[in-house]
């Protein structure tokens, strides 16, 4: 989950939770007792003696941030994402910065590690809007990802192209966006994903079922205590609503040791060395199948800066983990194929990997967020009816979850602004820009629909060029600029 800029992490409050162990001792014991016969069966059936596999999964995403858009721009400016200023809403600027600090050096490092260790494997999800920005602003970065995938030991997961919350609002739109992502990955990497992860690990039983029906073998979720109870995230689970698809759970303690606590000098385990981390991994030996280390890719070099030693840590880590002969690496789909489910992960409510709450409150906890989300999805039928690709693409880019995250007042209300970062000065500025441009979007939709009605049905109007489209809309704009 990458939300912008430099330094502080939005989830800073998690930073200082005392951590360092993979699972508390008591639950482990309980787990052994409870599952003793199950476990024995697995051992015999699969000849598995609990050699833990490590599954690295990185989320890579950049949104199309909307520029400061004022009411005066409605009807005049239909480019919402083209800020070329020095501000942090300049998408090209941010992408170049993060590519320099994170994507290029980390990709080079991972390629080096893949060449060095034939056992090493990793999984990625790259959002469609991220890939699109790479094509537009940084083809060299795209190429470096392609090189990783070409090793055959890097799996790409599917997600919604627009890193959206579509599943919460429109199942059709959700499926469509997943298909778009599938097509994009196929086009750029020549592979077809077999596993799925939803935006920010948002997950519930219903989603697991829908994703199973779409043919995926595995889906990712947060290994959140409220759902797991006493059980360990270091096994494969399944949803009670599904039969085939496996649910892989993030070991948030170990994952966050790297993602959030790595450079925290107040943490008792600081400094974290690869030896120490490998030791924690080894402790799972005999108590679990699989350690899922899921995190933002921007952890490397962007959330944790180079001077913290995070690259050196990662460079040494696969070697340290492989020192123990029982350890190995798997990709997400491999994990699902290799290990049987040990039980149900029963998520009636949505869980996500965001914030201490692990719920949807990062995107849906105040009136602005609910209203903005309601407004954008209310346009679905009309926008799609325009059959205007530019308009539809803009509408979808406005569904990216980050827009609603920027409107979040949870930390802001506590005055904890520093731990929360945002290309806008305040959540209110974020909402105002978004709300204003929705007025413009509605005008465009209305104009496009009227134009279609006026035309004989045999003649399709295709307004693909932004310039033509602007001309077109300006001509038929209603006088009261934002009235729809």
């Amino acid at each position: 989950m990458y939300f912008g800029l430099v330094g502080a992490h939005p989830l800073g409050s998690r930073l200082l939770q005392p951590q360092g162990d993979c699972a508390p001792a008591a639950p482990k014991l309980q787990l052994k007792l409870k599952h003793a016969d199950v476990i024995l069966k697995f051992k015999i059936l699969h000849n598995i003696y609990f050699m833990p596999s490590v599954c690295f999964y990185f989320q890579v995403h950049q949104p199309y941030r909307v520029k400061r858009y004022r009411i005066f721009d409605v009807g005049n400016d239909h480019n919402y994402f083209n800020d070329k200023s020095d501000k942090d809403t300049n998408n090209e600027k941010i992408l170049h910065k993060v590519a320099r600090k994170c994507y290029l050096p980390t990709n080079a490092l991972l390629l080096e590690l893949l060449n060095q260790h034939p056992e090493f494997k990793i999984s990625f999800s790259l959002s469609g809007v991220f890939l699109e920005q790479l094509e537009e602003f940084s083809p060299e970065t795209l190429e470096s990802f392609q090189k990783l995938v070409a090793t055959g030991r890097v799996e790409i997961l599917d997600e919604t192209y627009y890193h959206s919350l579509a599943f919460l609002y429109s199942k059709d739109e959700f499926k469509h966006q997943v298909q778009l992502h599938r097509d994009k990955v196929k086009k750029l990497f020549g592979v077809t994903p077999t596993s799925f992860r939803n935006t920010e690990l948002i997950y519930n039983n219903e989603l697991a079922k829908a994703v199973e029906e779409m043919g995926y073998k595995a889906i990712l979720a947060e290994g959140w205590d409220n759902v797991l109870g006493w059980r360990s995230p270091n096994f494969v689970y399944h949803s009670p609503t599904t039969t085939n698809i496996k649910t892989l759970l993030k070991n948030y303690r170990l994952s966050d040791d790297i993602a959030f606590r790595f450079s925290s000098q107040d943490w008792k385990e600081w400094p974290l060395t690869s030896e120490k981390f490998a030791h924690w991994v080894n402790q799972v030996n005999g108590n679990g199948h699989l350690i899922n280390l899921f995190m933002d890719y921007e952890t490397f070099g962007e959330h944790q800066w180079e001077h913290t030693g995070v690259f050196d840590f990662m460079r040494a880590l696969p070697g340290q983990i492989l020192k123990h002969p029982d350890n190995n690496f798997v990709t997400v789909t491999e994990a699902a194929e290799k290990y049987p489910s040990v039980g149900e992960f029963d998520a009636h409510h949505y869980v996500s990997w965001a914030d201490v709450e692990r719920d949807l409150s990062a995107w849906r906890s105040n009136g602005m967020q609910h209203e903005a989300l309601g407004n954008i999805y209310a346009l679905e039928a009309d926008v799609l009816a325009t059959k205007d690709p530019v308009l539809i693409h803009d509408w979808r880019k406005l569904q990216t979850s980050d827009h609603f995250y920027y409107m979040c007042t949870k930390w802001f209300a506590d005055g904890d602004v520093h731990k929360y970062f945002n290309p806008y000065e305040t959540p209110y500025e974020a909402f105002i820009a978004y709300n204003n441009l929705l007025q413009d979007l509605r005008l465009r939709v209305k104009a496009a629909l009227e134009a279609r009605r006026k035309l004989p049905s045999s003649r399709e109007v295709k307004v693909t060029h932004m310039k033509d489209e602007q001309e077109f809309i300006r001509k038929i704009s209603v006088p009261r600029k934002y009235a729809v």
Binding site: I71, N366, A413, F431, N435, K481
Partner: protein, 399 residues
């Protein structure tokens, strides 16, 4: 404590602030003797006694000085000319301030005290004289400077008075960092000598059950945007009208209400008419008490576009009444609030953009209302009084 106004005889935030702070100090077991200059239009002691019945340990003392708050030299001269001769003691403002000082000396010798606390420039000389008489430490409390009141064109005499008080003080309290910066920059004061004590609010005064007002206007689907303050250059009423003009170009269903009076009032009414906003901007005059609370509650947005606002108590009042606010970045109150909208006072387009978003979006109003009210919960007079007590203790312990 030397002041210059006290509710209900106040024309601005100073009286409210003195009242709130004094009441909180008395609950912190500080004995306060509040000294007020006598106002000519009848300083109603009996009424005041009723008002202060719930305040322990406060004595109200008045002197027979012809001083009124927010008075410029010119308006004071005019006031003198229109006043019956028997009420006059001095010939001009300078003499009045001096007389207040002399009276203060006598009071300081009569009334036992440990610390002298003087509020704003008219009381500074009284504070200095009291200190000379009793030798007790002097705290001066800056609620506004001449730079704020005049939009940056200070009267030399008032500036000198302020400067003298600030330099004579053992400790200076400013109501915001904004004001502290002005005091350091324009009065040559060592920042170490200044402590910022933000104003507060008495929440219970704003939790009354009151019938709704202006409901017929709201029933028509109109949105109400409110300005409350003296209509003077400091408060930026002209920027409010300019923003209103832009808003109404986009959305004619917004009603702007200006509550307050002041030297720019007639000019502002003319300006509104000239801009063609005659029926869209209501001038409600000076509104106080429950009427004001009802007005806050009726409003969909409270706007404070001040050019230079040392604090901005009305903002807290609006928030405490559940009204979203838009404040100028050139204000002290914005230092203690996060969940409010902020604009530069001169950026009327930004102001209009924000006003339009608020009147358009219930989600935005709801979020601002909810979180704004939570912000203001922590901004209390008790907190301010606690800081003052610490200052008194430090000064008495020679820190």
């Amino acid at each position: 404590m030397f002041g210059w106004e006290f509710p209900p005889h106040n024309s601005g935030g100073l009286g409210t602030a003195c009242h709130g702070l004094t009441r909180a100090l008395t609950t912190a077991d500080i004995d306060v003797t509040f000294v007020l200059p006598k106002a000519l239009d009848g300083f109603d002691r009996s009424f005041l006694k009723i008002v202060f019945a719930n305040i322990r340990n406060v004595k109200i003392r008045t002197t027979n000085i012809l001083l009124r708050p927010y008075m410029s030299i010119e308006s004071y001269d005019e006031y003198l000319r229109s006043t019956p001769e028997r009420d006059l003691y001095g010939l001009n403002l300078f003499d009045e301030v001096r007389r207040y000082g002399l009276q203060a000396r006598a009071i300081a010798l009569e009334e036992p005290h440990d610390v002298i606390h003087a509020h704003d420039w008219l009381a500074f000389r009284a504070g200095i004289e009291a200190k000379r008489a009793s030798g007790k430490p002097l705290v001066v409390h800056v609620h506004a400077t001449e730079f704020d009141r005049t939009g940056g064109n200070p009267n030399q005499y008032i500036y000198e008075e302020e400067r003298r008080g600030l330099h004579a003080a053992d400790c200076i309290i400013t109501v915001s960092q904004h004001t502290k910066n002005i005091v350091v920059k324009h009065y040559g004061i060592d920042p170490e000598k200044i402590t910022v004590v933000h104003n507060g609010i008495n929440h219970h005064e704003h939790q009354k059950h009151l019938p709704p007002t202006l409901s017929h206007i709201k029933a028509e689907g109109k949105k109400i945007v409110l300005f409350v303050g003296r209509i003077t250059i400091q408060k930026g009423p002209d920027y409010f009208l300019k923003a209103a003009k832009i808003v109404l170009d986009y959305d004619p269903d917004v009603l702007f209400i200006v509550s307050g009076s002041g030297d720019m009032e007639n000019r502002m009414i003319r300006m509104a008419v000239d801009m063609g906003l005659g029926d869209k901007v209501l001038f409600a005059g000076f509104v106080r008490g429950d009427d004001l609370l009802q007005l806050y509650r009726a409003a969909d947005l409270y706007v404070m576009p001040s050019v230079s606002e040392p604090f901005g108590l009305t903002t807290l009042e609006a928030l405490a009444n559940g009204t979203p606010v838009l404040v100028s970045k050139q204000s002290g109150v914005q230092e203690v609030l996060t969940n409010v909208l902020k604009s530069d006072f001169w950026d009327v387009e930004d102001m209009a953009d924000k006003i339009l978003s608020v009147v358009d979006s219930e989600g935005l109003r709801e979020t601002l209302r909810y979180h704004g009210a939570r912000d203001v919960e922590h901004v209390t007079w008790d907190r301010a009084a606690g800081k003052c007590v610490t200052i008194y203790e430090d000064i008495l312990n020679g820190k």
